[in-house]
Structures are given as structure tokens and as C-alpha cells.
Amino acid sequence: MGSIQQPSASTISKALVVDDSMSQRLLLSHMLEKLGYDVVSAKDGEEALAKFNEQRPDIIFMDIEMPKMNGIEATRAIRKVLDEDFIPIIFVTGGTSERYLEDCVAAGGDDFIKKPFNPTILSAKAQSLLRIKQLYNEQIVQKREIEAFKAEEDREHEIAAILNESIVMAGYMESPNVHHFLTPMSLFNGDILLCAYTPANKLNLLLGDFTGHGIIASVAAAPASEIFYGMTAKGFGIREITEEINTKLNRLLPAHMFLAATLACLDPETHNLSTITCGLPDHFLFNKETGEIKTLLSNNLPLGIVSSQELAPIEKHIEVTSQHRLFLFTDGIVEAENSSGEPFGFEGIKSCLGPTGTSSFDLVLESLQAHQGNQSQQDDITLVRLTCDFDPEKWNTQEPQDSRVEMEPSNWKLSSTMDYNTLKRLNPVPAMVNSLMEIQGLLPFRESIFLVTTELFANSLDHGLLGLDSSLKKSPDGFAQFFELRQQRLDQLSKGNIKLFFSHVPHKTGGELTIQVHDTGCGFDENQVLTDIKNNDGFSGRGIQLIRQICTSLEYSNDGRRATAVFTWSNE
């Protein structure tokens, strides 16, 4: 027997021998012991089951015909206990028992060995089955590891969803003008949608797509959304917000991570849509009435790669009407494949935008579903439609505030002068208006004060210092031109300043806030502006008209270089 190998090199395997014939039992036990096995035995199925539970053998040799419980029943019972664990069971056959072979396999037998036993065959069969057992058990361990890993990942996704819900969505303001579709997985894919109104009732929106997945993307989305909501609430424009988010992400993210994003701002006063596109696929501005589709290309680097100075984001301005719909999306929808692997593509989206009665948004989704067919939902889809609807009812979204000012009205003055270098870099209005809130606590009137200051400041800068002509804005093309020229002249500005002056005096039930904006530009003929307003020559007068509605007085002096508006408030 010198040629017969011992079972496992390192450990001794335990064999269970089940046979009702004592001589057979002793013979087989003896052979196995000689082969190096540790042997236990049982005289029938019932005892086998008990020994199995008690000893947990590595391999079982099972006779078929036995009293009490036969080998097939015992095998079935053992397999049931083992569940997904594996122990090889070899049936011992001989004589008439061969007719049960099929039943043996069905009950969970792995092999057969015929009486009388040949030690070489016995050893080979046992070893090969023990090897299979070992492989099987290793695989089970790996399977359990993978399952545990998967459970861990699911839990992380849940955390990502909660983080996203509580941090990223916390400041989200529902808008009747923003319609969106995000598949649940797109959150984990790093897509974010942010939306909020500024104090001047402009609608700011950000659609972004982080490189990275799950919890990583959610963590990076948190600072971006906090900046977005914080700065929007303070009235900053999308350029400042873009630069701030970019600076933060550039510092925060490793080299290979970035945020592809588009920021958009819709202004119900000027009907201006401004966009800053940073690395998302082309967007479409669709005119529902004419069917015209304008493509908005990405013309900036994604955020978080270079410094904000290098980024120097380009902001585009388009005058829109209530017929315009801006379709924004991340790459999932463009890349969504059909059964032959063809992407939905830009054409797939564009073909849905037509002058039909049906909602173009729904059409895109339906058409995408038809394209994907049975494999729908394989991709993470994020689609957003910004409706440029200026119906005033849709813009009354600000929550009503308690209109009482808690602070005692008092006498104070505040002035600040910004030279041309400062004006190039920042818009001082949000910070100034915020500091007024600190001084007098005029929070209930924040929006009005913000609006008046913004309009007066914009007039001083655009017309006073930059010498821009509002009549440019009369055509949609001219509108964009106006903003382009504005940026150009601002970059070249080499002299001048703007002074903001605020003074407050109390009266019986409230107070009077005077807002004065003074520029060193060339001035203008105020009478002409007033005539324009009377004749409702729309384009230049809108801001001034608005100020007149809000304020008790608006006067120009010093050849139009100084504008003085008086805002009166009352606690009654």
C-alpha cells in the first residue's frame, strides 16, 4: 500500500462509515484508518444522522439498504442540515442495491464505490472528493465576502442618499419653472441639481456631474451646494458663485476629480437668461412657438481643475420669451444605448423638440425609453427643463416673512467707494445690503432694498462708467452684444469709481432709508430717460420703473451722475 497517498497533508480528515453489517463496517473502517483517516461509524441511517451532527465528518461512506432509516433518506436529511455547506457522500453499492443509483444521486450522493473495495480506488475517490470539498468551501467563503462587501456598498449608497438629501437638497427651492427627471442611481453617479431664488427674485440653477461615484461624489457635492445656496440667498450672480465653487473644489479635490456643471440664471425683470457652461454636454434652448433650437455649447473648463483666475468663466446672455425652454442634461442620456449599442445622442433629444402640443420634456423621456427598449434604466438619466415662463404667479415663490422690524429705528449713515479695480473684481451690492441688515435689521424689506440698490448700481456702472447704450438691448442679438461689450469695457476700465451711500432716519412708526449711488462717469440726460419711460420704450426703463414702484421717490442730480432713492418702511 506504499503507493497510496495519505489524505490531506496538513490535517487528518474524518470519515463517517455507515453500514448495518458489522463486518462491512469494520472492513471499510480499517481500510480508511490505514489510509490515514480518523473514522467514526454508524449502524443505520438514524445513528448516522446523530453521529453526523455530533462529529461533523469531512466525508461520508453510506450503505443503501439499512433498517430504521435507509441510506437515501439519511443522505436527504444530512443535505438538508448542511444547507449550502458541502460534505461529499459516497454510496457503498453491491448486489441488488444498484437499482437505487438514480435515487442516490437525486438525494445528494456524489459518487459510488463497489464492494468488494479496492484500496487504490477508494483512496483516489475519497481524495478527489475532498479536494472538491475544499474548493467548494473556499468559494463559499469568497461568496460570503462578496455578499458582505455588497451589503456594505448598499449601506454606503444609503448614506450617500441621506447625505445628498440633507445637505445637497436642503436649500432646494421648488420652482414651477424647473422640471426634472433624475433616476435614483444618478445621485450615486454624482449628478446634482440645485435651484434657488435670489433676494431680487432671480432664479439660479446648477446642474452638475462629478467624476466619481457614490459617497465620494456626495461628499464633494456638499460644499458646492452650500456655496450655491448661501451665495444665492445673498444675491450673488452665477459668475461669482461659479468662481467660488471652483476655488473651493480646486483646493478640495484630487487632480483627477472635477465637477462638470452648468449654472443658469433667469431674470424675470429683464427676461435675460444667463448661462455659464463648464463641461456638460451641449444644452438646447428650444423656442416652443417657432420650433427654433439654439445649441448652448460648453465653453469653459469643468470646475475644480484650474484656479478661478485661469478659469475666467465666460457668461452668456440671451434674451428669452415665455416660449423658451432650456433643456439641460448630463452625459447619461446622450450615451444611453439601444439593443444594437447605438447611443441616443444629441439628435435623439433634438428630434423630440418640435412645435407639438405634447410636452417636449415627456417626449424626450418617452423617446429615450423606446430607444432603450427592454434595457431601459441601464443608464443613469438626468434631464432638466427650465421653462422661461414669466407669468408673475410663477414668481411669487418667496415665503411670506414676518414684516415687523424688531430693531429700534435709529439714525445712521454708511458709505463706501469702489474704484475701477474693485469694480472689475466684484459686485459689492450683496455684501453692502447684508451689512444694512446687520445695522437696522430690515430683513422683511431685504428684497426690495436689494433690488433698488442692484438697479441703481447697474445703471451707474453700465451707463455711467462703461458708457453703454441701452438701445443695444432692443433686439435679442443686441442683448447678447450688450453683455459682451459690457464685459469688454469692464476689463479695459482704467479710471473712475462708484460711491454707494446709505442713510437712515427713524420716523413715527418706522423709518426712511435713503439709497444714493454716485458715479464719476459722463452722466446722461435724465429727461430723455423719463420720456422713454412715459412712452414705454421698454428696454432701458424697466429698472427705473421698478424702483419708482418700490420707493417713495427717485431723483437724479449732477447731470444724471447721482441717483437718490428713498425707501420708506413702517411696522404698522
Partner: protein, 100 residues
């Protein structure tokens, strides 16, 4: 298909696969490690085989650029197919790499 790379003097050439995406990350990392080992001052990414890039591929390119000292001339992307060029254009990578 996978990433292959070779060095010749001070130039590193990386050939990107048909699908250049997250799956290429490990191999791309080892190609970048070749920069450490030798005196490389120019990296050339040959994209003639590539028909698809995803955002993690763009991230890998940024990682490479970072490694090369962030100069625009240090990394060139050559033989870009139109569909890949479109994606690079959307990301405005022309500002960061020399494209052809």
C-alpha cells in the same frame, strides 16, 4: 485591448484602448509611474484606437498633466477621432492640453 506605453529618450508615448474609461485606471497609473522612473519631459497620448472616453478617463489625463508639472505643452493628445474630440471639446480640454 489595453493600454500600452513606451518611452523613447525623454518622451513617453501612451496608446489608449478602444474604450478609455475607469477600467483602464490601473494600467494608466502604471504608465504614469514610468515618468517617475525616467527623465520624461513630454507625454504623448495616441488616441487613434479610442472611440469612447468617460469622465474618469478625463480625470486620468488631468492626473498625468499634474504629474508633468501642469504645463500645457508637456502633454499632447494626438490622433483623436471626431467622437472623442467632441468629448474633449465639451470639457474644453484644448485649454489644458495640446490637441490634434
Amino acid at each position: 485591448m489595453s493600454i500600452t506605453f513606451s518611452t523613447s529618450g525623454s518622451k513617453l508615448t501612451i496608446n489608449t484602448p478602444e474604450r478609455f474609461d475607469f477600467g483602464s485606471h490601473k494600467e494608466f497609473r502604471s504608465a504614469i509611474d514610468a515618468i517617475n522612473a525616467s527623465n520624461i519631459n513630454h507625454a504623448c497620448i495616441d488616441m487613434r484606437m479610442t472611440g469612447y472616453v468617460d469622465s474618469s478617463a478625463l480625470g486620468m489625463l488631468l492626473m498625468l498633466k499634474n504629474k508633468m508639472g501642469n504645463s500645457k505643452e508637456a502633454v499632447s493628445l494626438i490622433n483623436t477621432r471626431p467622437e472623442v474630440k467632441k468629448i474633449l471639446d465639451i470639457a474644453n480640454f484644448g485649454q489644458l492640453f495640446s490637441l490634434s
